[in-house]
């Protein structure tokens, strides 16, 4: 048992790298950027110890290209970056969507736009993670709030990526990435790890984009018995370019549907003290910690406050948030941006309850007291 559980006091970024390796990732390509570089550094130490490969590319465009290539060649792969690098990755993120290539992209958010404040936190990439690459598509975005999350949810990110043959974005932030905290590094058992479906058909009949009944097509690896092609251009089931309107319509809808129609399986929400809550804080990432502290203080003051943590940011938890908005008298949405998640909360607010944003972009964490002030505002 001791062998399978290591207690460590480490940074979130270190836990992300350990989580990736525990999930079975064996290929990292990246370009160093604050505040994500520890993911690269730990990966460069740990991957070769487990037979994995670390390569530093010339830029983030090449980094995401390399992990996509490595994934089609059969290795679970990942990269880590921050805002400026994430911007550079957007075009090839679309390749991973279009070619349905499993891979995990870690974005440790920092203050932007542009170079911004390189060492300071922000949560400003919520919409970029959803819509940053051009064209319609679905995407899975997971946001950790603790170092333990960085480990556990990285494993989950790989599992979802493999299951749905899709890129998954791990949207961390400088606070969680750099914070040191207790983390239990547990060894996943084989049944806790999902690997992509491999084809079982006759190699002559293999079509790399022909979905099974579950909506997901098996993915072979280069070098196997299956000779196949993948493409970032609009293609048909064979992977060959196809410009027919009905084909384009079918595939573009498929990229959205395979994520949106599996929300029940994909979306993770955490509910804290919501049973009797009159007011709720809807939160994600580092701001969750401030929200929970605010909840604790509010409860001590006799206020019935609960927290809904969006562990999965995208696909958005429409049902969970809609249900919450039906139940409580008001909602506070703290985020280290000028209001990205709050738009989604308002979208499902059918009863028009008061919803207040606590928005901070000065590079400092939102304090519990600022959230408490937000609660006072919705109470009025």
């Amino acid at each position: 048992m001791e062998q399978n559980r290591r207690i460590r006091f480490i940074q979130g970024n270190e836990a992300i790298a350990e989580g990736a390796i525990a999930a079975g990732a064996r290929f990292y390509a990246g370009y160093p950027i604050t505040p994500s570089s520890e993911v690269a550094e730990v990966s460069s130490v740990r991957l070769p110890q487990v037979g994995g490969l670390y390569v530093q590319m010339e830029d983030e465009i090449g980094s995401i290209a390399a992990i996509i290539g490595a994934s089609v060649a059969g290795k679970k792969s990942y990269t880590a970056t921050s805002g400026p690098g994430f911007s550079l990755m957007q075009e090839n993120l679309g390749v991973a969507v279009m070619a349905e290539v499993p891979c995990v992209i870690i974005d440790v958010q920092r203050s932007g736009p542009s170079t911004g404040l390189a060492t300071k936190p922000a949560q400003g990439d919520v919409m970029q993670s959803r819509w940053g690459t051009h064209g319609d598509h679905g995407i899975i975005v997971i946001s950790p709030s603790s170092v333990q999350d960085c480990y556990d949810l990285t494993i989950q990110a790989f599992n979802l990526s493999e299951k749905y043959r899709t890129p998954v974005i791990f949207l961390a932030d400088e606070i969680v990435g750099h914070m040191r905290e207790k983390a239990v590094l547990w060894e996943p058992s084989p049944d806790q790890i999902i690997n992509r479906k491999k084809p079982t058909c006759d190699p002559k009949d293999y079509k790399p984009f022909k979905p099974d009944e579950d909506g997901i097509a098996p993915l072979a690896a280069y070098g196997s018995e299956y000779v196949f092609r993948v493409s970032g251009s609009t293609h048909d089931e064979t992977g060959f370019a196809n410009s027919k309107p009905d084909n384009a319509d079918r595939f573009i809808r498929h990229y959205t549907d395979k994520i949106e129609k599996n929300k029940k399986d994909i979306v993770i929400l955490r509910r804290f003290n919501l049973e009797d809550a009159e007011y709720a804080i809807v939160t994600f990432g580092c701001s969750t910690r401030s929200a929970l502290e605010a909840m604790k203080i509010a409860r001590n003051m006799g206020k019935k406050v609960g927290v809904l943590q969006l562990v999965t940011l995208w696909p958005f938890a429409d049902d969970g948030v809609r249900e919450l908005c039906r139940k409580v008298k008001g909602v506070v949405v703290p985020e280290m941006n000028l209001g990205q998640v709050i738009r989604e909360v308002k979208r499902v607010n059918e009863n028009n309850i008061p919803i207040v944003g606590v928005n901070k972009v000065n590079s400092e964490a939102i304090t519990p007291f600022e959230i408490l002030a937000g609660i006072e505002e919705v109470e009025r």
Partner: protein, 273 residues
């Protein structure tokens, strides 16, 4: 494995070729599949990686594994493919706009990193697919759809660039001398490490039309007249030489490739704490 003929490597149901009459891409494609036949490459173990542009369509006609990525990034995708499975034979097909202009940074770093890839850049001196704009290899003073008054930039000598970046194999052929081109491609495919072949090719539709060579034969003839071999080039003055396509093999040196070096990293890492 049964004996593979060159057309076993072709996807014939995608014929006729997408390219314009007089284009050199079909000739280079022919040289590649004949090289495959000569080497009896295993389709299952071969991956052709392409970017975007006229030449980026080449993988549609090749019956191996294929990866069709984004404009300029073929080498980066290929780097991941090769490093993830060093047993694969990875061939990267790019145009001059794709591989040497938008993708120039990947080109020099792939050469420096010495990943065991074979890159073939078909250089038709302009952006064909988008309508004949100037690229990073368009010769100075020539006309393109975006240099209507004459081009004022100097074009890359891609072979010198890749040689300077450290590639162990660097050669240039042309569509006019297809036998030599095929020989260079075979050598490049056999070379362990990053190998680079530039193929000078005609684009009569765009480059030719704007520079007094409206037909394929006229452009081919122009390539022929302006080509010299390495020995002949040595006799030219630097100014004369700059205006010529120097054909032949410039570099053929032994260098340990990335994957072989990484094998040693595994051993060191295993013994580290």
């Amino acid at each position: 494995m049964s004996n593979m003929k060159f057309d076993d490597y072709l996807v014939k149901n995608k014929f006729p070729l997408f390219w314009c009459g007089g284009c050199g891409n079909g000739n280079v494609l022919g040289a590649i599949v004949r090289a495959f036949e000569e080497l009896q490459l295993d389709r299952k173990n071969t991956v052709v990686v392409t970017g975007i542009g006229c030449w980026g369509k080449a993988d549609d006609y090749i019956n191996t594994n294929a990866f069709h990525g984004t404009h300029g990034r073929a080498l980066a995708f290929a780097t991941g493919i090769k490093l993830a499975n060093p047993e694969l034979k990875v061939l990267v097909l790019m145009g001059d706009g794709d591989g040497a202009t938008i993708g120039g940074n990947h080109l020099i770093h792939a050469a420096r990193r010495n990943v065991d890839l074979t890159a073939i850049v078909v250089n038709n001196l302009n952006y064909g697919m988008t309508g004949g704009q100037y690229s990073g290899t368009t010769p100075e003073a020539s006309y393109t759809s975006t240099s209507p008054y004459g081009h004022i930039e100097q074009g890359f000598d891609l072979c010198k660039l890749v040689e300077g970046a450290g590639a162990p194999y660097v050669a240039r052929g042309s569509v006019y001398n297809i036998v030599q081109l095929q020989k260079l491609i075979v050598e490049a495919l056999n070379k362990k490490g990053f190998s680079f072949v530039e193929a000078i090719a005609p684009c009569p539709t765009h480059f030719g039309r704007r520079n007094g060579m409206k037909t394929g034969p006229k452009m081919l003839n122009w390539i022929k007249e302006n080509s010299v071999n390495i020995k002949q080039a040595e006799k030219l003055s630097p100014e004369e030489r700059e205006k010529k396509f120097v054909l032949g093999k410039f570099v053929d040196r032994d260098k340990e490739d990335y994957s072989t070096k990484y094998e040693k990293i595994f051993a060191i890492a295993e013994n580290a704490e």
